[in-house]
């Protein structure tokens, strides 16, 4: 990364000195993957602490790809993100369980609800997409050091304190592998998956599990780097997940086909109006409990390729993807960086801000949008149903630092905190604060 920046600086100096005519301007330096990342077994850890203080767009995407490669690197037979070490934090009633310290392999995949409006994505075979959440020891140690497993201490926590550099929180999306299905291009493993049942008309977890082969289809990486406590929010998908829209969504007619090709989560010829329909949210989703399949299935389309943003942002992502794919071998070469989003200003994370246009944006620079990169970023397998709504069409639309009002009358609401950027923390806070430990009799 450093050598590329040096080259860029030399080019800039030459440009200033010679003032070449426009037709003779050199092409921008392409955003590429350093050869030092390969082979995959030797990919170095992403340099979060050494992240440049005046980064360019490519630097963020390079960090994201570097992190993906490092987190998926084989460690004793499994990807690193599944082998994150236990940190020994004990959980008990009334305290947060931030999903630290348990092997993902042993953990049941029991999340099917997407964040946001009650969505469940159903693959074309009728299985729900399952999710797992992971975090690194920096995250867990920070919570432990600050006593944040105690809901009361989290409520009283310094609102201006952010997660330390190096914090990683991850979310993986898993598809159930069907018998005979060719999953040679996916990372697969076996997992305990939660089984579903219908209770009072609602689809809920039955409490039973079974072992199933699952394939990784989506992967979120959110991590802090130097000067960016808001985290870089990057997301990856399998190449064959879903088609991009052929044109801007505002220009798509309802009956236009999105693709003539079959994709993992899209049937060829499906019209635009049938893309990303939130059947679960409407209560229209039905379960065949014996087969453990759901109807209707979800036809998935990618509403904003690469999460949009500037032309330079999209070009950098494409260039970097191409560069990685040219150098990477093995199953991980079938995944691509959809995009990443971050703040345009350094150290701009503040409490009680939404970072979206409006009165609560808390911009660090007047007149300029705070968000940059892939400003409409979604993962089609993780945020399937909120790709198009401006109210929720990027990571920071939900991951912000405003207060979080309580979902019940028991738990106090959580004030606006910089660490509220993490929904892992927020969700566990309310789980803990809603079930306070029984008072000891004296």
């Amino acid at each position: 990364m450093g050598s590329k920046r040096l080259v860029g600086a030399i080019i800039a100096a030459l440009w200033a000195a010679t003032s070449l005519p426009a037709a003779a301007q050199p092409a921008p330096t392409p955003c590429t993957a350093p050869s030092t990342w390969f082979p995959h077994s030797q990919t170095p850890e992403q340099n979060s602490a050494g992240f440049p203080s005046d980064p360019n767009n490519c630097d963020f995407h390079q960090w994201a790809w570097n992190a993906f490669l490092w987190l998926t690197q084989d460690v004793k037979g499994e990807p690193r993100f599944e082998a994150m070490p236990a940190n020994g934090i004990e959980t008990k009633a009334g305290t947060l369980d931030a999903l630290i310290g348990r092997s993902a392999q042993a953990r049941t995949l029991d999340i099917i609800d997407q964040a946001g409006p009650n969505g469940i994505m159903v693959d074309l075979q009728g299985h729900p997409i399952y999710y797992s959440i992971h975090s690194d020891s920096t995250f867990g140690d920070f919570l432990k050091t600050n006593g944040l497993f105690d809901p009361a201490k989290l409520r009283a926590f310094d609102p201006n304190t952010s997660f330390p550099v190096g914090t990683l929180t991850l979310k993986a999306a898993w598809k159930v592998v069907n018998p005979g299905e060719n999953v040679s291009t996916f990372y697969t493993r076996h997992a305990q998956i939660a089984l579903l049942t219908t209770k009072n008309g609602k689809i809920v977890l039955s409490g039973k599990t079974k072992t199933a082969a699952v394939a990784l289809v989506g992967f979120h990486i959110a991590g802090t780097v130097a000067n960016h406590p808001e985290m870089i929010w990057a997301t990856f998908e399998h190449l064959q997940n879903a088609p991009d829209l052929p044109k801007k969504m505002s220009e798509m007619g309802p009956y236009e086909k999105v693709s003539d090709k079959n994709w993992t989560f899209y049937k060829a010829g499906t019209p635009f109006k049938d893309c990303n329909i939130n059947s679960a949210g409407s209560g229209a989703l039905k379960l065949d409990e014996a087969a453990q399949t759901l109807t209707p299935v979800t036809q998935v389309c990618r509403m904003v390729p690469y999460g949009g943003g500037s032309d330079n942002n999209v070009a950098n992502i494409k260039s970097l993807n191409d560069s990685v794919h040219a150098q990477l071998k093995g199953v991980w070469n079938n995944y691509f960086d959809v995009g990443a989003i971050w703040f345009a200003a350094n150290n701009a994370l503040k409490p009680n801000c939404t970072f979206q246009p409006g009165s609560l944006e808390c911009p660090a620079t007047s007149g300029k949008p705070l968000l940059t990169g892939s400003t409409q970023l979604s993962n089609t397998t993780v945020e399937t149903f909120t790709q198009s709504q401006s109210a929720q069409d990027n990571c920071f639309a939900c991951h912000n630092t405003v207060q979080v009002t309580s979902p019940n009358a028991v738990a106090p609401s959580l004030p606006g905190l910089n660490v509220g950027i993490s929904h892992v923390l927020i969700n566990e806070y309310f789980a803990a604060a809603s079930h306070p430990p029984a008072k000891t009799k004296h």
Binding site: P117, M249, G281, T405, P415
Partner: protein
């Protein structure tokens, strides 16, 4: 009787259209307040009772027709000179047979004059196709007259326009001594009449009545428009005013309306039978003396499809705000242009109803479960709770009505609804905002505030059950409700109490058959007394199209980059509902669980691939033909259950009495987006 003054209450009474002769009585409890029996307030009451709330079976008559809502007016006596403060806490019901000041009341003679002046009024849409609300009246050059070239008459005061574009049956009078079975209709056949100062009913034979069929050939999709409603008296001496029959008729040519019904609020020569007008009364005593009564005012609104769902901003909130900030109603709260930091709102009176309103929105909207949980938490806040434990940061939750930036900012700022004219999002009134901020600052009374008298309670409750905040143009009343010119402003001097409409004094003895009696009348921001029809004329032409349209929309103005859809009037125009037939009963646990949501307005003619158009008929005439099929939302205990099953619980509000099939309508939770984008033809809304 010099020591006593008499007033009609409520000061403004609300009826609602229906296509049945039958009716129920306007609620005497407010949506958003929980009654002693545990039922949410706001339900209308059964005729012939003082306060028995209706059940699910009472919304329609035996033929399935929608019952009208009648407004019940009563007279209360006050000590003269008691108008110095508000509330007075005073007021004694005046009934025939009762005594006042040593005299026995032997009769009450009521006079009501209803009219519909919609078609010769200014359009809700001003120059440039903009909804400007009262802002358009600040620059009259922006105003556009409805039907500006009707029969070549362009002057709004032209007698042809006043006669033919108004529906004016003239006044009607009824006396209590005539018995409760008498019905006096606002139709062409019933003679115009009024009670004079000596309580004699005087017939006005030459009154220039006008109905649409008098002047034009009509297109009548729901049948002829022949009446604006009727009057009755009750056994307490009260007056019951029931409104129109939800008819709408259009001037036609060759069997078709000359103005196609294509716009949300401005459809040209389409009459409807909404109306309004003064409610006057004269008391008769046993010594043959009489006493005048300070008038009330009657208004016909849309059907009450969700009577228990309180609007976050009710008409009361707007009216109270105007009276507090501009007319000196409560100096301890606001004086010299400032809210008073020493003022302590009452939690049950001033705070909790708004919290309950938040909680209730879910039953008419497609809020996602996360938001439902948050709203329920707000609704469950108790006076003993620490406000900051519930809402740590007031300013990042509630939109500041004084902040332009907040007005253009959607979630997380609340309310999560579309704003008033020229405002993207809805804000509570300034007085509401102050009262809520006082609560958050822990400067509030946990118990009731100053006691209201029984008539004052009716004034407040009636308006609490109406839609405020967003008048584009509204459901019952529109933006003029915030205009001080609408009211008797020297209420203390006149000893009439607050909130009284500044009634034009009409001399019916001068009515002649050859010229219109009513004038163009009240114009917002001008000190012109208010005639019959002057309040309802600010509403949609006809009401049906506006109701159909106002499900969800993009904000107007739409903040840059926004494609998210928001609700217009969710409390009174339900968008997504829980049909009772889809509730699931767990026989073992003896519990009910709500099922799938469907659109309130659904079925053939409502299908669309465009989210911006869901939950409504795609063609306005189809709503006209189907408005009566829309169901009603009511709380569980008021819904009959099958034998052997547990009653529906309180705190769930289900759709009943819909005549649409439940179907398989698909209601995704909010947020939804205008994708695929719905593109309309260039708007031609103003006429």
């Amino acid at each position: 009787m010099s020591g006593t003054v008499f007033r009609v209450h409520p000061a403004i009474g609300i009826g609602r259209v229906g296509d049945s002769e039958a009716f129920y009585i306007a609620p005497v409890t407010a949506a958003g307040t929980i009654e002693p029996g545990g039922l949410m307030g706001g339900l209308p009451i059964k005729p012939g009772t003082e306060d028995t709330p209706i059940t699910a079976d009472d919304f329609r008559d035996a033929h399935g027709n929608v019952k009208r809502q009648a407004a019940r007016f009563r007279i209360y006596a006050y000590p003269a000179g008691g108008s110095g403060t508000y509330p007075t806490g005073a007021g004694t019901l005046v009934a025939v047979g009762g005594s006042v000041g040593g005299k026995k009341v032997v009769d009450i003679v009521w006079t009501v004059h209803l009219a519909n002046k919609k078609l010769n009024n200014y359009s809700t849409v001003s120059q440039g196709g903009q909804f400007r609300g009262i802002g358009a009246y600040e620059d009259p050059s922006l105003l556009e007259l409805r039907n500006p070239d009707y029969k070549g008459k362009t002057d709004k005061n032209d007698p042809v326009r006043l006669r033919e574009l108004f529906i004016d049956p003239g006044p009607r009078a009824i006396k209590v001594s005539g018995g409760t079975s008498a019905v006096v209709a606002f139709d062409a056949a019933t003679p115009a009449a009024y009670a004079n100062a000596s309580a004699t009913i005087v017939s006005v034979r030459d009154y220039p009545k006008s109905f649409p069929s008098d002047f034009n050939t009509l297109y009548e999709p729901l049948g002829p428009l022949t009446s604006l409603g009727d009057l009755r008296v009750d056994d307490k001496g009260g007056l019951v005013v029931a409104g129109g029959y939800a008819r709408t008729v259009a001037v036609s040519k060759d069997g078709q309306p000359v103005d196609p019904m294509t716009q949300a609020t401005e459809n040209g020569l389409w009459y409807d039978d909404a109306a309004d007008g003064p409610v006057n009364a004269v008391l008769v005593f046993d010594d043959n003396s009489t006493a005048a009564v300070q008038a009330g005012w009657y208004v016909t609104g849309d059907p009450g499809y969700a009577p228990q769902t309180r609007n976050i901003i009710s008409v009361w909130d707007d009216v109270y705000d105007v009276w507090v900030r501009q007319l000196g109603l409560v100096p301890s709260l606001f004086v010299n242009g400032q809210f008073q930091a020493s003022y302590q709102p009452s939690f049950p009176d001033d705070i909790q109803p708004t919290f309950h309103a938040c909680m209730l929105q879910r039953w008419n909207t497609n809020l996602p479960s996360v938001a439902i949980n948050n709203h329920d938490m707000i609704g469950a806040i108790k006076p003993t709770d620490d406000p900051t434990s519930k809402i740590p940061n007031f300013k990042t939750l509630l939109r500041d009505p004084n902040s332009t930036a907040d007005t253009t900012t959607g979630a997380p700022l609340m309310p999560l609804s579309l704003g008033d004219a020229q405002k993207s999002f809805l804000s509570v009134s300034q007085t509401q905002y102050f009262l809520l901020s006082q609560w958050h600052a822990k400067a509030y009374l946990p118990g009731p505030g100053s006691a209201l008298g029984p008539g004052e309670i009716l004034d407040k409750i009636t308006l609490e059950n109406c839609l405020g905040g967003r008048y584009s143009p509204g459901i019952e009343v529109s933006f003029p409700i915030r205009d001080t010119n609408l009211y008797i402003q020297d209420w203390q001097k006149q000893d009439c109490g607050p909130f009284r409409i500044n009634q034009a004094q009409l001399d019916y003895s001068k009515a002649t058959a050859d010229k219109p009696f009513l004038t163009f009348g009240y114009i917002p921001l001008q000190a012109i007394p208010v005639e019959p029809g002057d309040i309802s004329k600010a509403m949609s032409v006809p009401w049906h199209t506006d109701y159909n349209s106002c499900a969800t929309h993009l904000p107007d103005p739409n903040p840059q980059g926004n494609n998210t859809l928001f609700w217009s009037w969710p409390a009174e125009r339900p968008v997504a509902v829980y049909p009772v037939s889809l509730c699931v009963y767990d026989a073992a646990a003896k519990t009910w669980t709500v099922g799938q949501q469907v659109y309130s307005v659904r079925g053939a003619g409502t299908d669309t691939p465009y989210p911006a158009q869901v939950g409504r008929f795609q063609k306005y005439p189809d709503f006209v033909k189907n408005w009566f099929d829309v169901g009603f939302i009511i709380e569980g205990p008021q819904i009959p259950t099958e034998t052997g099953k547990s009653p529906y619980p309180a705190n769930i509000f289900l759709e009943v009495q819909s005549q649409f099939a439940v179907g398989s309508d698909f209601v995704p939770p909010w947020p939804t987006a205008d994708v695929p984008h719905y593109s309309t033809a260039p708007a031609v809304r103003g006429r």
